[in-house]
Symmetry: C2
Subunit: 333 residues, 2 copies
Amino acid sequence: MAKTKRSFQRVTIKDVAEYAKVGVGTVSRVLNNSPHVDQHTRQRVLEAIKVLGYFPNPHARRLSTGSSQLITVITPEMKGDFYQILMSAIDEVLFKYGYSSLLYPLYNEKKYEALKRSSDILLSTDGLIVDAVNVDKVLSNIIKPQTPVVCIEQDSDDYDSIMVDNYYGGVIAGDYFADFDMDIFVVTHRKTHELESTVFDERLEGFQESLEKKGRSIDKVYYVPLDWESTFEVARRIFYRFKRCAIFTTTDYLAVPIIEVARTMGLKVGEDVRVCGFDDLPIAQILEITTVRQPIAEMGRLAAETLVKRISGKLKEKPKKYILKPELVIRST
Amino acid sequence: MAKTKRSFQRVTIKDVAEYAKVGVGTVSRVLNNSPHVDQHTRQRVLEAIKVLGYFPNPHARRLSTGSSQLITVITPEMKGDFYQILMSAIDEVLFKYGYSSLLYPLYNEKKYEALKRSSDILLSTDGLIVDAVNVDKVLSNIIKPQTPVVCIEQDSDDYDSIMVDNYYGGVIAGDYFADFDMDIFVVTHRKTHELESTVFDERLEGFQESLEKKGRSIDKVYYVPLDWESTFEVARRIFYRFKRCAIFTTTDYLAVPIIEVARTMGLKVGEDVRVCGFDDLPIAQILEITTVRQPIAEMGRLAAETLVKRISGKLKEKPKKYILKPELVIRST
DNA sequence: CTGAAAGCGCTTACAG
DNA sequence: CTGAAAGCGCTTACAG
């Protein structure tokens, strides 16, 4: 097309070179902080950049280098402390290696559709970290097979995956509860979408089997949506009948309203009522909730480190599964 | 460099062209669904794409077209229903015009640093929507002056801005409360970071002035962090002394624990205790909370529409301020 | 409908 | 230390 001009002419590296009376290569070197540039030349170029208001075109740079120094993080949600901790840990590592992260949360069905429609959203960054989404189902056919991907909280045949042993986490909570001479309840969330992760079920399963091994059993499992309002209702229902019981919630998030209701109903939490959560979110630390600690930050860091190694080609073996151990943290509930 | 080869040779449009025995232009036309391609040729190209496992290089495409069909949304947080509603509305409009969104939440100081360090995160998408962050402070010197930007919940000298009249929202809540013969309290959040928005203060100010105009006044303002735990404490403190009062919270989020505590303490919410929130979040609808409705989705849609117009060049006037009116929604609290 | 070719704006090996 | 030039992988006006 040659003669076509953009309606608004941008200032390019060529303009800077002309103004500074140097070659484009030199401008590029200044831009990339190459040490092989004379101090005076560098000053002239910097001056030209300022005067002309030049900003480099990232697309051109990326086409040339083949890299964007960006990675995309896909999550099923965008709410909650869990993601904040995870993302902070990921960013910390990424930053160290000169990368930044962009978030693509699949908070509704449409986001997923958008992803399928224009998969190059994902091809435009150097790699992906995918949390708690069924990658093998979502990503096949969308991205190139060689795209570097690391999954968190999700098993995968094709990529590295970082998981916590949720079953074992349930087991240690069960072992702990088995000694309590009380009715035992579980409040958990039921998977509603095919792409949702199965972590809650695994925790419940471990808890249940541990209990059975010790001759105990769950008196009732309550399924709730992941919000506090519904959990308030369930808590009221439980405490209306049982003034003495032990409750295992498959995430700390659900433990909060339960403790709140118990307290306002005058029940002694930590004595009459025992509560054990899962995750060790900041809120569990603040409210002194007994919980099964999941090393969230460690998972994030490990995912980021692994991804960076894959991108740089330092890691060439076939996908590996990293399974981290959760641990019981006994606090005041 | 000419002779340099990437370590792993990617399959390009040229390979596809050779395999299908057509020119690269034709492959490109097939890729872009041009109608001017013979059915049989198209089939051959599609076949070649499949056989070779070809995926287009988005960087090359963007360099060529000058557009990425992507926009970045910057938010101060990544938690809460507010953002979900806002993002869904933004995405809905963006999708219509063939755009997708990527999130860049400034959830900690480091994210802001990362942004400053490599500003081309922002230059690599076609435009920005910035929510509740002081754009003029954050973005100057980071992006090109001509980059299309729309701000939400934040005033700006340089860009279009979409705001709700928070002061007026406070006023209508004040007008409503002025008639109640009870002590009046406010629970709100204090801005702690220079980049945080001032919406809570504006709401409080409108509320206060409206009350004073009617010869009433606020008995006490409680400042809390934006979490439920602290608000539980405050609520207990209030209801311990006052069994009858009216409480205005500058966001629905803070109204929830207050209502919960009142109820579990046996107070009649809607009679002895009056509560009015702000925002009209989903939770306010579920719990039937009286509130000042903020048209969140409308703000998102308007922001997206405006941004798309700016990008396409259809909007050429100087930056405009859109101020939407909130409205009082009286429900059962 | 199709191909050859210029151009998008950078980077970088090469030859001074 | 520096410049000229090839190349990154696309798109698209032009001339069949």
